[in-house]
Each structure stands twice: as C-alpha cells, then as structure tokens.
C-alpha cells in the first residue's frame, strides 16, 4: 500500500480543530472522494478531533492519503495520551456521554467511515483510526 501524503497536526485548541477539518477536506479532494464522502469524513474527523481535545487533553492528528493499487482513500489517526477509556463498548454506544455532549461522537463517526479502529488503555491514552475509501 502506497502512502501518497503523510502529515501530522497538533490538536491543542479549537483553532486546531478547524485547521484539522480543512486539511482533511483538502486531502479528501486530492484523493477524489465524492462531495458526500468528503463531508462524512470531515464530519467524523471533527468529532474525533474534538474528543482528542476535550477528553484526551489534546494530542495530534495524523493524516495519510492511501493508494492500495485498486482504490484510493484517506486515513486519519487521532492520538492522545489522556486518561483513556475504561469501557470502550460502553463509550461506543449511541447517547453515552461523560461530558454533557450528545454522545454521538464515537458511535456516529464510526457510521460515517469505512474502517474504524479504537485502542485505549486507562491512564495511557486513546488512539482512533478511521479510513474512508473512494
């Protein structure tokens, strides 16, 4: 699998989240995703970037443009070293929230992408990886 682009962006403030939305959009356009797929990916990235900032205490986003020969896609990884998630199954449920939000961040973003992986260890941090293929 070829990686055509690979960049990292710090997620430390709300301005970084807006910047993250813009670079994810640019990359999705670069990879030829349709407008609906771009919107789904950017929305999922916005939810997860907000999680990294609010729940993870900040972290970083890694953005990669992928080409596996037959198809192109965009992979976005969100990494924080915050408190982690004790019960991932519970955190993935629609409507479950610890900070007064709508509880759609994780479960909703999973529905907006083709691949979704979450890895979290209490006390160590959380990594969420999403891929949207063209």
């Amino acid at each position: 699998m070829a990686v055509l682009r690979d960049e990292r962006i710090g997620l430390r403030s709300m301005d970084d989240i807006i910047k993250a939305r813009q670079v994810v959009r640019d990359c999705a356009i670069f990879q030829g995703l349709s407008l609906v797929d771009q919107t789904k990916l950017v929305t999922a990235a916005s939810e997860l970037a907000r999680n990294t900032l609010i729940h993870g205490g900040g972290g970083e986003m890694r953005l990669q443009a992928l080409n596996d020969g037959s198809r192109r896609g965009v992979k976005v990884t969100f990494i924080d070293t915050g408190p982690g998630i004790a019960d991932i199954e519970l955190a993935m449920k629609d409507g479950y929230t610890t900070k007064g939000g709508l509880g759609l961040g994780l479960s909703g973003s999973k529905r907006l992408v083709n691949e979704f992986e979450i890895d979290s260890k209490p006390g160590k941090g959380t990594t969420v990886c999403i891929v949207r293929w063209k």
């Binding site: 919107t39 929305t43 709508l102 909703g108």
Partner: protein
C-alpha cells in the same frame, strides 16, 4: 473574535452563518440572538446554513438549542439552505434534528414563518 451578524427583516431575524464555526462563535451567537429576539420583539428566526459545509454534533446541538431557546421566547426558527451532503451526513451521524423546521431557501423559510404566524389565532400582537 469573529461574530455572526444578525439582520432584522421586518418581524424576523436573519442569521447567515458564513464562517467555519468555532465553538466560541457558536456560544456567542446563542447569547446575542436570544437578546435580539427580546429587544427586537422578533416573531421568527431564519438560520441560513447554505454556506456551511460541515455540521458535526456540536454545531448540530447548537442549531437545536437556538431553535429551542427562540421557541421559549415565542419566536419560531426555520433552518434554511442545508446542503444535501450535510443532510445525508447528519442523519447517518444520528442527528436527524426532528424538532427543527427547515426550508430549502430563505424565501421558502420566510413563507413558512408567515403562514405559521397567521394560523396562531388569538395570539396577542407584539
């Protein structure tokens, strides 16, 4: 900090969101809009999101809050101009905004506000 202008159009307020929504901008809009509904005795709010290309759950919640707050202040909110890609994404995200009235554009939204006011017989004039 960027602010979202609130324009008065007869008995209605028109809010056109043209910036990439910062959380703080959204909170300021809620405060200013509710204050203007009261000071201008507005009967309705048109929230134009035709320039908005991403509505995540935070912005979606803000739109829902604005509609609820204005309803409590006796003004109806109509969200106008949602892009098709945003509508598809919102529903898949799980945020269908069932309690929000929508119209395809500002004209249609205005017509909706006018007709909903007429049907409220017996309501005291402002």
């Amino acid at each position: 900090m960027e602010r979202i202008p609130i324009l008065k159009m007869g008995p209605y307020l028109l809010v056109t969101i043209q910036v990439d929504m910062h959380d703080r901008v959204a909170m300021t809009l809620q405060d200013e809009l509710t204050a203007r509904i009261v000071s201008d005795r507005a009967q309705g709010v048109l929230l134009d999101i035709s320039s908005v290309d991403v509505v995540d759950s935070f912005i979606g919640r803000m739109i829902g809050n604005i509609a609820s707050m204005s309803r409590v202040l006796d003004a109806e909110t109509v969200v106008v101009g949602m892009r098709p890609a945003v509508a598809i994404t919102l529903v898949e995200l799980g945020l269908a905004l069932p309690s929000i009235r929508t119209a395809l554009n500002v004209d249609a939204g205005m017509t909706l506000l006018k007709s909903s006011r007429k049907s409220n017989n017996g309501r005291p004039a402002r």
